[in-house]
Protein backbone atom coordinates (compact mmCIF):
# COMPACT_ATOMS: atom_id res chain seq x y z
CA UNK A 1 0.00 0.00 0.00
CA UNK A 2 2.74 2.44 0.91
CA UNK A 3 4.68 1.40 -2.14
CA UNK A 4 1.59 2.06 -4.28
CA UNK A 5 1.18 5.53 -2.79
CA UNK A 6 4.82 6.44 -3.35
CA UNK A 7 4.55 5.20 -6.90
CA UNK A 8 1.39 7.22 -7.44
CA UNK A 9 3.34 10.28 -6.35
CA UNK A 10 6.30 9.44 -8.57
CA UNK A 11 4.16 8.71 -11.62
CA UNK A 12 2.30 11.99 -11.10
CA UNK A 13 5.63 13.75 -10.83
CA UNK A 14 6.55 12.36 -14.23
CA UNK A 15 3.32 13.69 -15.72
CA UNK A 16 3.82 17.12 -14.25
CA UNK A 17 7.43 17.35 -15.37
CA UNK A 18 6.44 16.24 -18.88
CA UNK A 19 3.83 18.97 -19.13
CA UNK A 20 6.07 21.68 -17.77
CA UNK A 21 8.56 20.96 -20.53
CA UNK A 22 6.24 22.81 -22.85
CA UNK A 23 6.11 25.89 -20.70
CA UNK A 24 4.70 28.36 -23.20
CA UNK A 25 2.08 25.93 -24.42
CA UNK A 26 1.17 25.16 -20.84
CA UNK A 27 0.61 28.79 -19.87
CA UNK A 28 -1.37 29.47 -23.02
CA UNK A 29 -3.55 26.49 -22.22
CA UNK A 30 -3.96 27.69 -18.66
CA UNK A 31 -5.00 31.09 -19.93
CA UNK A 32 -7.45 29.71 -22.49
CA UNK A 33 -9.03 27.36 -19.93
CA UNK A 34 -9.34 30.09 -17.33
CA UNK A 35 -10.79 32.56 -19.79
CA UNK A 36 -13.35 30.01 -21.00
CA UNK A 37 -14.69 29.44 -17.50
CA UNK A 38 -14.54 33.15 -16.77
CA UNK A 39 -16.45 34.27 -19.85
CA UNK A 40 -19.04 31.53 -19.49
CA UNK A 41 -19.87 32.72 -16.02
CA UNK A 42 -19.57 36.37 -17.00
CA UNK A 43 -22.25 36.00 -19.63
CA UNK A 44 -24.61 34.52 -17.03
CA UNK A 45 -23.72 37.19 -14.45
CA UNK A 46 -24.22 40.03 -16.90
CA UNK A 47 -27.58 38.70 -17.99
CA UNK A 48 -28.63 38.27 -14.35
CA UNK A 49 -28.01 41.99 -13.85
CA UNK A 50 -30.89 42.63 -16.22
CA UNK A 51 -33.20 39.93 -14.89
CA UNK A 52 -32.27 40.28 -11.17
CA UNK A 53 -32.95 36.66 -10.29
CA UNK A 54 -33.60 33.23 -11.73
CA UNK A 55 -36.55 31.45 -10.13
CA UNK A 56 -35.95 33.31 -6.88
CA UNK A 57 -32.20 32.73 -6.82
CA UNK A 58 -30.09 35.88 -6.70
CA UNK A 59 -26.86 36.39 -8.55
CA UNK A 60 -24.85 35.56 -5.41
CA UNK A 61 -26.74 32.36 -4.75
CA UNK A 62 -26.31 31.19 -8.34
CA UNK A 63 -22.59 32.01 -8.12
CA UNK A 64 -22.40 29.79 -5.03
CA UNK A 65 -23.98 26.86 -6.91
CA UNK A 66 -21.99 27.53 -10.05
CA UNK A 67 -18.64 27.99 -8.29
CA UNK A 68 -19.04 24.76 -6.31
CA UNK A 69 -19.48 22.75 -9.51
CA UNK A 70 -16.58 24.44 -11.28
CA UNK A 71 -14.24 23.71 -8.37
CA UNK A 72 -15.38 20.12 -7.95
CA UNK A 73 -15.41 19.32 -11.65
CA UNK A 74 -11.99 20.94 -12.04
CA UNK A 75 -10.52 18.83 -9.24
CA UNK A 76 -12.15 15.72 -10.66
CA UNK A 77 -10.88 16.49 -14.16
CA UNK A 78 -7.39 16.90 -12.73
CA UNK A 79 -7.35 13.76 -10.60
CA UNK A 80 -9.24 11.53 -13.04
CA UNK A 81 -7.75 12.88 -16.28
CA UNK A 82 -6.32 9.43 -17.05
CA UNK A 83 -9.87 8.10 -17.09
CA UNK A 84 -11.17 10.79 -19.44
CA UNK A 85 -13.12 8.48 -21.79
CA UNK A 86 -11.94 10.13 -25.00
CA UNK A 87 -8.35 9.94 -23.89
CA UNK A 88 -8.61 6.46 -22.48
CA UNK A 89 -10.26 5.19 -25.66
CA UNK A 90 -7.10 6.15 -27.54
CA UNK A 91 -5.07 4.20 -25.03
CA UNK A 92 -7.14 1.08 -25.75
CA UNK A 93 -7.07 1.70 -29.49
CA UNK A 94 -3.31 2.03 -29.65
CA UNK A 95 -2.77 -0.98 -27.44
CA UNK A 96 -0.86 1.07 -24.89
CA UNK A 97 -3.21 -0.22 -22.23
CA UNK A 98 -1.30 -3.51 -22.57
CA UNK A 99 1.81 -1.77 -21.24
CA UNK A 100 -0.10 -0.96 -18.08
CA UNK A 101 -1.06 -4.59 -17.58
CA UNK A 102 2.59 -5.56 -17.97
CA UNK A 103 3.80 -3.49 -15.03
CA UNK A 104 3.67 -4.88 -11.51
CA UNK A 105 1.64 -1.97 -10.20
CA UNK A 106 -2.05 -1.56 -9.45
CA UNK A 107 -3.89 -0.89 -12.72
CA UNK A 108 -6.15 1.86 -11.40
CA UNK A 109 -3.19 3.79 -10.00
CA UNK A 110 -1.47 3.57 -13.35
CA UNK A 111 -4.50 4.79 -15.27
CA UNK A 112 -4.97 7.66 -12.82
CA UNK A 113 -1.45 8.78 -13.62
CA UNK A 114 -1.70 8.40 -17.39
CA UNK A 115 -2.48 12.08 -17.45
CA UNK A 116 -2.75 14.92 -14.98
CA UNK A 117 -4.22 17.82 -16.87
CA UNK A 118 -2.63 20.66 -14.95
CA UNK A 119 -4.43 23.25 -17.05
CA UNK A 120 -7.52 22.40 -15.01
CA UNK A 121 -5.90 24.39 -12.23
CA UNK A 122 -7.19 27.41 -14.12
CA UNK A 123 -10.74 26.03 -13.96
CA UNK A 124 -10.37 25.41 -10.24
CA UNK A 125 -8.93 28.87 -9.62
CA UNK A 126 -11.65 30.66 -11.55
CA UNK A 127 -14.18 28.40 -9.82
CA UNK A 128 -12.89 29.57 -6.46
CA UNK A 129 -13.21 33.16 -7.70
CA UNK A 130 -16.84 32.58 -8.68
CA UNK A 131 -17.48 30.91 -5.32
CA UNK A 132 -16.08 33.94 -3.50
CA UNK A 133 -18.32 36.21 -5.58
CA UNK A 134 -21.14 34.00 -4.39
CA UNK A 135 -20.12 34.32 -0.74
CA UNK A 136 -20.01 38.08 -1.01
CA UNK A 137 -23.36 38.29 -2.70
CA UNK A 138 -25.17 36.20 -0.13
CA UNK A 139 -25.66 36.53 3.59
CA UNK A 140 -24.92 33.02 4.71
CA UNK A 141 -25.34 32.39 8.39
CA UNK A 142 -22.44 30.04 8.84
CA UNK A 143 -22.62 27.34 11.49
CA UNK A 144 -19.80 24.90 12.32
CA UNK A 145 -21.88 22.12 10.77
CA UNK A 146 -22.24 23.97 7.46
CA UNK A 147 -18.55 24.77 7.37
CA UNK A 148 -17.65 21.19 8.12
CA UNK A 149 -20.05 19.84 5.53
CA UNK A 150 -18.76 22.00 2.66
CA UNK A 151 -15.63 19.93 1.85
CA UNK A 152 -17.76 16.79 1.91
CA UNK A 153 -20.07 18.29 -0.69
CA UNK A 154 -17.12 19.07 -2.92
CA UNK A 155 -15.63 15.62 -2.35
CA UNK A 156 -18.95 13.96 -3.22
CA UNK A 157 -19.11 15.76 -6.54
CA UNK A 158 -15.50 14.80 -7.28
CA UNK A 159 -16.36 11.14 -6.55
CA UNK A 160 -19.57 11.30 -8.56
CA UNK A 161 -18.10 12.79 -11.72
CA UNK A 162 -14.93 10.73 -11.31
CA UNK A 163 -17.16 7.66 -11.23
CA UNK A 164 -18.82 8.75 -14.46
CA UNK A 165 -15.38 9.14 -16.06
CA UNK A 166 -14.46 5.63 -14.92
CA UNK A 167 -17.69 4.24 -16.39
CA UNK A 168 -17.07 6.09 -19.66
CA UNK A 169 -13.52 4.77 -19.83
CA UNK A 170 -14.64 1.22 -19.07
CA UNK A 171 -17.21 1.33 -21.87
CA UNK A 172 -14.38 1.93 -24.35
CA UNK A 173 -13.21 -1.64 -23.69
CA UNK A 174 -16.26 -2.64 -25.70
CA UNK A 175 -16.80 0.31 -28.01
CA UNK A 176 -13.22 1.60 -28.40
CA UNK A 177 -14.59 5.09 -29.10
CA UNK A 178 -15.94 6.97 -26.13
CA UNK A 179 -19.68 7.23 -26.34
CA UNK A 180 -21.59 10.48 -26.55
CA UNK A 181 -24.18 9.54 -23.91
CA UNK A 182 -21.45 9.75 -21.30
CA UNK A 183 -20.78 13.36 -22.33
CA UNK A 184 -24.41 14.14 -21.62
CA UNK A 185 -24.05 12.71 -18.13
CA UNK A 186 -20.69 14.29 -17.27
CA UNK A 187 -20.72 17.67 -18.99
CA UNK A 188 -24.49 17.86 -19.24
CA UNK A 189 -24.80 16.77 -15.61
CA UNK A 190 -22.35 19.37 -14.36
CA UNK A 191 -24.11 22.09 -16.37
CA UNK A 192 -27.46 20.98 -14.98
CA UNK A 193 -26.46 21.15 -11.33
CA UNK A 194 -24.77 24.54 -11.77
CA UNK A 195 -28.27 26.05 -11.79
CA UNK A 196 -31.17 25.79 -9.35
CA UNK A 197 -32.92 22.51 -10.15
CA UNK A 198 -36.31 24.24 -9.95
CA UNK A 199 -35.78 25.80 -13.39
CA UNK A 200 -35.98 22.50 -15.25
CA UNK A 201 -39.05 20.73 -16.60
CA UNK A 202 -40.34 17.96 -14.33
CA UNK A 203 -39.14 15.05 -16.47
CA UNK A 204 -35.58 16.35 -16.51
CA UNK A 205 -35.53 17.03 -12.78
CA UNK A 206 -36.97 13.58 -12.05
CA UNK A 207 -34.31 12.04 -14.25
CA UNK A 208 -31.61 13.80 -12.23
CA UNK A 209 -33.35 12.80 -8.99
CA UNK A 210 -34.33 9.18 -9.36
CA UNK A 211 -32.19 7.80 -12.17
CA UNK A 212 -29.02 9.84 -11.85
CA UNK A 213 -29.42 11.38 -8.39
CA UNK A 214 -27.28 14.44 -9.11
CA UNK A 215 -29.85 16.74 -7.46
CA UNK A 216 -28.50 15.73 -4.04
CA UNK A 217 -24.93 16.63 -4.92
CA UNK A 218 -25.16 20.39 -5.15
CA UNK A 219 -28.71 21.68 -5.11
CA UNK A 220 -29.82 20.22 -1.78
CA UNK A 221 -26.58 21.00 0.07
CA UNK A 222 -26.90 24.56 -1.28
CA UNK A 223 -30.49 24.83 -0.02
CA UNK A 224 -29.19 23.81 3.40
CA UNK A 225 -26.20 26.16 3.47
CA UNK A 226 -28.13 29.11 2.01
CA UNK A 227 -31.15 28.39 4.25
CA UNK A 228 -33.54 28.27 1.32
CA UNK A 229 -36.84 26.42 1.44
CA UNK A 230 -37.17 23.13 -0.46
CA UNK A 231 -39.79 23.49 -3.21
CA UNK A 232 -40.02 19.71 -3.67
CA UNK A 233 -40.70 18.80 -0.05
CA UNK A 234 -38.07 16.11 0.35
CA UNK A 235 -37.37 14.78 3.87
CA UNK A 236 -34.94 16.98 5.83
CA UNK A 237 -32.18 14.43 5.32
CA UNK A 238 -31.99 15.25 1.58
CA UNK A 239 -29.14 17.81 1.88
CA UNK A 240 -26.95 15.21 3.53
CA UNK A 241 -27.25 12.49 0.92
CA UNK A 242 -24.43 13.92 -1.20
CA UNK A 243 -21.58 11.81 0.26
CA UNK A 244 -23.70 8.69 -0.13
CA UNK A 245 -24.45 9.45 -3.78
CA UNK A 246 -20.80 10.23 -4.47
CA UNK A 247 -19.37 7.18 -2.77
CA UNK A 248 -21.92 4.73 -4.18
CA UNK A 249 -21.35 6.04 -7.71
CA UNK A 250 -17.60 5.71 -7.38
CA UNK A 251 -17.82 2.25 -5.81
CA UNK A 252 -20.17 0.95 -8.50
CA UNK A 253 -18.06 2.43 -11.26
CA UNK A 254 -14.90 0.82 -9.89
CA UNK A 255 -16.67 -2.54 -9.76
CA UNK A 256 -17.69 -2.04 -13.39
CA UNK A 257 -14.09 -1.05 -14.16
CA UNK A 258 -12.79 -4.30 -12.71
CA UNK A 259 -15.36 -6.22 -14.73
CA UNK A 260 -14.23 -4.31 -17.83
CA UNK A 261 -10.62 -5.30 -17.29
CA UNK A 262 -11.61 -8.95 -17.01
CA UNK A 263 -13.57 -8.60 -20.22
CA UNK A 264 -10.59 -6.95 -21.90
CA UNK A 265 -8.39 -9.85 -20.83
CA UNK A 266 -10.74 -12.38 -22.30
CA UNK A 267 -11.35 -10.66 -25.64
CA UNK A 268 -8.32 -8.48 -26.13
CA UNK A 269 -10.25 -5.88 -28.13
Amino acid sequence: MRHTLTLYRRLLGVQIRSQLQYRVAFFMDLLATGLTVCLEFASLALVLQRFQHIRGWTMGEVAFLYGMVEIAFGIMDLVFSGFDPGRFGQEVRRGTFDQILLRPVNITVQVLTLDFALRRLAKITVGIGIFIVGLQGTMITWTPAKLLYLPFVLGSMVCFFGGLFVVGATITFWTVESIEVMNILTYGGSFTISYPMSIYPDWLRRFFTYIVPAIFLNYYPALYILDKPDPFNFPPIAPFLAPLVGLITLALSLAFWRFGITHYQSTGT
Binding site: T6, L7, R17, S18, T96, D98, L102, R103, P104, Q265
Partner: protein, 327 residues
Protein backbone atom coordinates in the same frame (compact mmCIF):
# COMPACT_ATOMS: atom_id res chain seq x y z
CA UNK B 1 10.25 -22.44 -17.50
CA UNK B 2 7.20 -22.56 -19.76
CA UNK B 3 4.73 -25.40 -20.04
CA UNK B 4 1.91 -25.03 -22.51
CA UNK B 5 -0.57 -27.80 -22.92
CA UNK B 6 -3.48 -27.87 -25.40
CA UNK B 7 -3.73 -24.11 -25.36
CA UNK B 8 -6.77 -22.62 -27.08
CA UNK B 9 -7.95 -19.11 -27.71
CA UNK B 10 -11.20 -18.56 -29.54
CA UNK B 11 -12.71 -15.22 -30.42
CA UNK B 12 -16.26 -14.44 -31.31
CA UNK B 13 -16.27 -12.09 -34.23
CA UNK B 14 -19.46 -10.28 -35.12
CA UNK B 15 -20.43 -10.82 -38.69
CA UNK B 16 -21.87 -7.62 -40.05
CA UNK B 17 -24.84 -7.56 -42.32
CA UNK B 18 -24.31 -6.15 -45.75
CA UNK B 19 -26.49 -4.11 -47.98
CA UNK B 20 -29.73 -2.26 -47.23
CA UNK B 21 -30.63 -1.44 -43.67
CA UNK B 22 -27.45 -3.16 -42.60
CA UNK B 23 -27.09 -0.83 -39.62
CA UNK B 24 -30.54 -1.62 -38.29
CA UNK B 25 -30.15 -5.33 -38.86
CA UNK B 26 -26.80 -5.28 -37.08
CA UNK B 27 -28.54 -3.85 -34.05
CA UNK B 28 -31.30 -6.41 -34.06
CA UNK B 29 -29.53 -9.62 -34.86
CA UNK B 30 -25.97 -10.58 -34.37
CA UNK B 31 -24.25 -13.40 -36.10
CA UNK B 32 -21.03 -14.63 -34.69
CA UNK B 33 -18.20 -16.39 -36.35
CA UNK B 34 -15.81 -18.34 -34.19
CA UNK B 35 -12.18 -17.59 -34.89
CA UNK B 36 -9.68 -20.06 -33.50
CA UNK B 37 -6.74 -17.73 -33.05
CA UNK B 38 -4.79 -20.36 -31.17
CA UNK B 39 -5.85 -23.93 -31.69
CA UNK B 40 -4.55 -26.72 -29.52
CA UNK B 41 -0.96 -25.60 -29.08
CA UNK B 42 1.45 -27.43 -26.78
CA UNK B 43 5.12 -26.88 -26.11
CA UNK B 44 7.69 -26.70 -23.35
CA UNK B 45 10.52 -24.25 -23.06
CA UNK B 46 13.45 -24.88 -20.75
CA UNK B 47 15.20 -22.24 -18.69
CA UNK B 48 17.93 -20.53 -20.71
CA UNK B 49 16.53 -21.29 -24.15
CA UNK B 50 16.32 -18.71 -26.91
CA UNK B 51 13.35 -19.63 -29.05
CA UNK B 52 12.25 -18.03 -32.29
CA UNK B 53 8.49 -17.88 -32.69
CA UNK B 54 7.48 -17.39 -36.30
CA UNK B 55 4.37 -17.08 -38.31
CA UNK B 56 2.73 -14.79 -40.86
CA UNK B 57 0.52 -11.92 -39.74
CA UNK B 58 -2.64 -13.12 -38.08
CA UNK B 59 -1.27 -16.60 -37.53
CA UNK B 60 -1.83 -16.53 -33.78
CA UNK B 61 1.64 -15.41 -32.83
CA UNK B 62 0.73 -12.34 -30.86
CA UNK B 63 -2.29 -14.05 -29.32
CA UNK B 64 0.06 -16.68 -27.90
CA UNK B 65 2.43 -14.03 -26.61
CA UNK B 66 -0.47 -12.14 -25.05
CA UNK B 67 -1.52 -15.29 -23.21
CA UNK B 68 2.03 -16.00 -22.11
CA UNK B 69 2.37 -12.49 -20.74
CA UNK B 70 -1.00 -12.63 -18.98
CA UNK B 71 -2.68 -10.01 -21.15
CA UNK B 72 -5.19 -12.50 -22.44
CA UNK B 73 -7.02 -15.29 -20.66
CA UNK B 74 -6.96 -18.58 -22.61
CA UNK B 75 -10.24 -20.18 -23.70
CA UNK B 76 -8.87 -23.59 -22.82
CA UNK B 77 -5.76 -25.53 -22.01
CA UNK B 78 -3.05 -25.22 -19.42
CA UNK B 79 -0.39 -22.61 -19.23
CA UNK B 80 2.25 -22.44 -16.53
CA UNK B 81 5.10 -19.99 -16.76
CA UNK B 82 7.74 -19.67 -14.12
CA UNK B 83 5.53 -21.69 -11.78
CA UNK B 84 2.61 -19.31 -12.17
CA UNK B 85 -0.49 -19.02 -14.28
CA UNK B 86 0.13 -15.70 -16.03
CA UNK B 87 -3.32 -14.11 -15.97
CA UNK B 88 -3.80 -14.93 -12.32
CA UNK B 89 -1.84 -12.94 -9.77
CA UNK B 90 -0.92 -10.48 -12.50
CA UNK B 91 1.23 -8.18 -10.37
CA UNK B 92 3.50 -10.93 -9.05
CA UNK B 93 3.77 -12.57 -12.45
CA UNK B 94 4.74 -9.53 -14.50
CA UNK B 95 7.33 -8.51 -11.88
CA UNK B 96 9.47 -11.33 -13.16
CA UNK B 97 9.16 -10.97 -16.91
CA UNK B 98 10.39 -8.40 -19.39
CA UNK B 99 8.56 -7.43 -22.56
CA UNK B 100 9.73 -5.34 -25.49
CA UNK B 101 7.42 -4.34 -28.30
CA UNK B 102 9.35 -3.16 -31.32
CA UNK B 103 6.41 -1.02 -32.42
CA UNK B 104 5.90 0.98 -29.26
CA UNK B 105 7.86 2.10 -26.31
CA UNK B 106 7.33 1.53 -22.60
CA UNK B 107 9.32 4.66 -21.84
CA UNK B 108 7.80 8.01 -20.94
CA UNK B 109 7.69 10.00 -24.14
CA UNK B 110 8.63 13.44 -22.88
CA UNK B 111 11.20 12.43 -20.29
CA UNK B 112 14.94 11.90 -20.65
CA UNK B 113 15.75 8.19 -20.93
CA UNK B 114 17.48 8.09 -17.56
CA UNK B 115 14.39 9.37 -15.75
CA UNK B 116 12.25 6.65 -17.27
CA UNK B 117 14.78 4.05 -16.19
CA UNK B 118 14.89 5.44 -12.67
CA UNK B 119 11.14 5.39 -12.49
CA UNK B 120 11.12 1.76 -13.59
CA UNK B 121 13.52 1.00 -10.77
CA UNK B 122 10.75 1.98 -8.37
CA UNK B 123 8.00 0.35 -10.38
CA UNK B 124 9.83 -2.98 -10.20
CA UNK B 125 11.34 -2.34 -6.76
CA UNK B 126 14.89 -2.99 -7.90
CA UNK B 127 17.39 -2.59 -5.04
CA UNK B 128 19.53 0.51 -5.56
CA UNK B 129 22.89 -1.21 -5.93
CA UNK B 130 21.49 -3.86 -8.27
CA UNK B 131 19.95 -1.10 -10.36
CA UNK B 132 23.26 0.77 -10.60
CA UNK B 133 25.09 -2.41 -11.54
CA UNK B 134 22.62 -3.32 -14.27
CA UNK B 135 22.39 0.21 -15.57
CA UNK B 136 26.13 0.54 -15.99
CA UNK B 137 26.39 -2.86 -17.66
CA UNK B 138 23.60 -2.13 -20.14
CA UNK B 139 24.84 1.39 -20.75
CA UNK B 140 28.14 -0.07 -21.88
CA UNK B 141 26.72 -2.92 -23.91
CA UNK B 142 24.07 -0.87 -25.65
CA UNK B 143 26.09 2.32 -25.79
CA UNK B 144 23.32 4.33 -24.16
CA UNK B 145 25.55 7.03 -22.76
CA UNK B 146 25.26 9.52 -25.66
CA UNK B 147 21.48 9.81 -25.29
CA UNK B 148 20.79 8.95 -21.66
CA UNK B 149 19.70 12.53 -21.01
CA UNK B 150 17.74 12.99 -24.23
CA UNK B 151 13.92 12.90 -24.14
CA UNK B 152 12.58 9.70 -25.65
CA UNK B 153 10.60 11.62 -28.29
CA UNK B 154 13.87 12.85 -29.83
CA UNK B 155 15.55 9.44 -30.11
CA UNK B 156 16.08 7.62 -33.37
CA UNK B 157 14.30 4.29 -33.74
CA UNK B 158 17.50 2.35 -33.06
CA UNK B 159 18.31 4.38 -29.96
CA UNK B 160 14.79 4.00 -28.67
CA UNK B 161 14.95 0.24 -29.17
CA UNK B 162 18.20 0.05 -27.22
CA UNK B 163 16.72 2.10 -24.40
CA UNK B 164 13.65 -0.12 -24.38
CA UNK B 165 15.78 -3.27 -24.17
CA UNK B 166 17.60 -1.82 -21.20
CA UNK B 167 14.28 -0.87 -19.58
CA UNK B 168 12.95 -4.39 -19.96
CA UNK B 169 15.95 -5.98 -18.27
CA UNK B 170 16.68 -3.70 -15.32
CA UNK B 171 14.74 -5.88 -12.92
CA UNK B 172 16.57 -9.09 -13.92
CA UNK B 173 13.56 -10.87 -15.39
CA UNK B 174 13.96 -14.62 -15.76
CA UNK B 175 11.96 -14.49 -18.98
CA UNK B 176 12.10 -11.96 -21.78
CA UNK B 177 9.59 -11.52 -24.59
CA UNK B 178 10.83 -9.69 -27.65
CA UNK B 179 8.25 -8.73 -30.23
CA UNK B 180 9.87 -7.61 -33.48
CA UNK B 181 12.88 -6.03 -31.78
CA UNK B 182 14.66 -5.20 -35.04
CA UNK B 183 11.71 -3.90 -37.03
CA UNK B 184 12.53 -0.87 -39.13
CA UNK B 185 16.21 -0.74 -38.17
CA UNK B 186 19.21 -0.52 -40.46
CA UNK B 187 21.72 -3.36 -40.78
CA UNK B 188 24.21 -2.01 -38.25
CA UNK B 189 21.57 -1.31 -35.63
CA UNK B 190 20.07 -4.75 -36.15
CA UNK B 191 23.40 -6.41 -35.67
CA UNK B 192 24.08 -4.54 -32.46
CA UNK B 193 20.73 -5.55 -31.03
CA UNK B 194 21.24 -9.18 -32.02
CA UNK B 195 24.57 -9.24 -30.26
CA UNK B 196 23.00 -7.82 -27.16
CA UNK B 197 20.19 -10.37 -27.18
CA UNK B 198 22.71 -13.16 -27.52
CA UNK B 199 24.73 -11.74 -24.66
CA UNK B 200 21.73 -11.55 -22.36
CA UNK B 201 20.79 -15.10 -23.17
CA UNK B 202 24.29 -16.56 -22.76
CA UNK B 203 25.73 -14.53 -19.92
CA UNK B 204 22.64 -13.96 -17.84
CA UNK B 205 20.85 -17.17 -18.67
CA UNK B 206 17.66 -15.25 -19.45
CA UNK B 207 15.08 -17.32 -21.28
CA UNK B 208 14.04 -15.45 -24.41
CA UNK B 209 11.11 -15.79 -26.74
CA UNK B 210 11.58 -13.85 -29.94
CA UNK B 211 8.92 -13.15 -32.51
CA UNK B 212 10.11 -11.61 -35.70
CA UNK B 213 9.61 -11.28 -39.41
CA UNK B 214 13.31 -10.89 -39.98
CA UNK B 215 14.59 -14.40 -40.53
CA UNK B 216 18.16 -13.25 -40.18
CA UNK B 217 17.30 -12.65 -36.54
CA UNK B 218 16.32 -16.28 -36.32
CA UNK B 219 19.30 -17.60 -38.23
CA UNK B 220 21.74 -15.67 -36.10
CA UNK B 221 20.12 -16.10 -32.72
CA UNK B 222 17.91 -19.12 -32.39
CA UNK B 223 18.67 -22.77 -32.26
CA UNK B 224 15.08 -23.67 -31.80
CA UNK B 225 12.15 -22.34 -33.78
CA UNK B 226 8.42 -22.72 -33.51
CA UNK B 227 6.21 -21.95 -36.48
CA UNK B 228 2.54 -21.18 -36.11
CA UNK B 229 -0.04 -20.64 -38.80
CA UNK B 230 -3.81 -20.50 -38.68
CA UNK B 231 -3.56 -20.97 -34.94
CA UNK B 232 -1.82 -24.32 -35.16
CA UNK B 233 1.74 -25.08 -34.27
CA UNK B 234 3.25 -26.35 -37.51
CA UNK B 235 6.81 -26.93 -36.48
CA UNK B 236 8.72 -27.04 -33.25
CA UNK B 237 12.34 -28.11 -33.37
CA UNK B 238 15.92 -27.27 -34.16
CA UNK B 239 16.60 -24.79 -36.92
CA UNK B 240 18.87 -27.38 -38.55
CA UNK B 241 16.07 -29.92 -38.64
CA UNK B 242 13.87 -27.42 -40.34
CA UNK B 243 16.54 -26.86 -42.96
CA UNK B 244 17.13 -30.49 -43.54
CA UNK B 245 13.52 -31.42 -43.75
CA UNK B 246 12.49 -28.68 -46.07
CA UNK B 247 15.46 -27.51 -47.96
CA UNK B 248 14.64 -30.08 -50.63
CA UNK B 249 14.36 -27.37 -53.21
CA UNK B 250 17.84 -26.46 -54.30
CA UNK B 251 18.41 -24.61 -57.50
CA UNK B 252 20.84 -25.28 -60.31
CA UNK B 253 21.68 -22.41 -62.64
CA UNK B 254 23.01 -23.53 -65.98
CA UNK B 255 24.44 -21.44 -68.84
CA UNK B 256 23.94 -23.43 -71.99
CA UNK B 257 26.56 -23.22 -74.70
CA UNK B 258 23.96 -23.13 -77.46
CA UNK B 259 20.21 -22.57 -77.84
CA UNK B 260 17.95 -25.54 -77.11
CA UNK B 261 14.27 -25.68 -77.59
CA UNK B 262 13.76 -28.36 -75.00
CA UNK B 263 15.95 -28.23 -71.92
CA UNK B 264 14.06 -30.70 -69.74
CA UNK B 265 15.84 -33.27 -67.65
CA UNK B 266 14.71 -36.07 -65.43
CA UNK B 267 14.55 -35.34 -61.70
CA UNK B 268 14.43 -31.56 -61.96
CA UNK B 269 12.00 -28.84 -62.94
CA UNK B 270 12.71 -25.89 -65.14
CA UNK B 271 11.56 -22.88 -63.18
CA UNK B 272 13.06 -20.06 -65.24
CA UNK B 273 14.63 -19.45 -68.64
CA UNK B 274 16.45 -16.31 -69.59
CA UNK B 275 18.10 -16.61 -72.98
CA UNK B 276 20.58 -19.42 -72.71
CA UNK B 277 20.41 -19.46 -68.91
CA UNK B 278 18.16 -22.07 -67.38
CA UNK B 279 17.22 -22.47 -63.71
CA UNK B 280 16.37 -25.93 -62.49
CA UNK B 281 14.85 -26.79 -59.17
CA UNK B 282 15.41 -30.16 -57.56
CA UNK B 283 15.05 -31.79 -54.17
CA UNK B 284 17.80 -33.39 -52.20
CA UNK B 285 15.79 -36.52 -51.64
CA UNK B 286 15.28 -37.38 -55.32
CA UNK B 287 18.59 -36.53 -56.87
CA UNK B 288 22.05 -35.31 -55.84
CA UNK B 289 23.60 -32.26 -57.42
CA UNK B 290 26.41 -34.20 -59.12
CA UNK B 291 23.95 -36.73 -60.49
CA UNK B 292 21.84 -33.97 -61.96
CA UNK B 293 24.83 -32.18 -63.46
CA UNK B 294 25.98 -35.33 -65.17
CA UNK B 295 22.48 -35.95 -66.56
CA UNK B 296 22.32 -32.44 -67.98
CA UNK B 297 25.81 -32.49 -69.41
CA UNK B 298 25.05 -35.77 -71.16
CA UNK B 299 22.25 -34.11 -73.12
CA UNK B 300 23.34 -30.50 -73.55
CA UNK B 301 26.52 -28.53 -73.92
CA UNK B 302 27.10 -26.49 -70.81
CA UNK B 303 29.23 -23.41 -70.46
CA UNK B 304 28.86 -22.66 -66.78
CA UNK B 305 26.80 -23.69 -63.78
CA UNK B 306 26.12 -22.88 -60.15
CA UNK B 307 24.19 -24.53 -57.31
CA UNK B 308 22.09 -22.28 -55.11
CA UNK B 309 21.23 -23.43 -51.60
CA UNK B 310 17.80 -22.31 -50.39
CA UNK B 311 17.86 -19.87 -47.50
CA UNK B 312 15.72 -20.17 -44.44
CA UNK B 313 13.50 -17.43 -45.71
CA UNK B 314 12.54 -19.30 -48.84
CA UNK B 315 12.02 -22.43 -46.78
CA UNK B 316 9.66 -20.79 -44.40
CA UNK B 317 7.82 -18.99 -47.13
CA UNK B 318 7.28 -22.34 -48.77
CA UNK B 319 6.01 -23.79 -45.55
CA UNK B 320 3.43 -21.02 -45.25
CA UNK B 321 2.45 -21.11 -48.88
CA UNK B 322 2.17 -24.79 -49.41
CA UNK B 323 1.22 -25.78 -45.90
CA UNK B 324 3.88 -28.43 -46.05
CA UNK B 325 3.53 -29.27 -42.43
CA UNK B 326 -0.16 -29.81 -42.37
CA UNK B 327 -1.14 -33.32 -41.65
Amino acid sequence: MIQVHNLHKHFKVTRHHQGRLAGVRNLLTREYRLVKAVDNVSFTIQTGELVGYLGPNGAGKSTTIKMLTGLLVPTGGDLVVNGRIPHQSRQQYVANIGVVFGQRTTLWWDLPVIESLELLQHVYRVPADRFRQNLSEFTDLLDLKPFLHTPVRSLSLGQRMRADLCAALLHDPALLFLDEPTIGLDVVAKERIRQFIQHVNRERGTTIILTTHDLQDVEKLCERVMIIDHGRLLFDGQLNDLRERFDGRRELLVDMAEAYEDVSVEGAQVVARDGWQVTYQFSRSSVTASELISRISQRYRIRDLAVREPDIEATIRRIYEERLLET
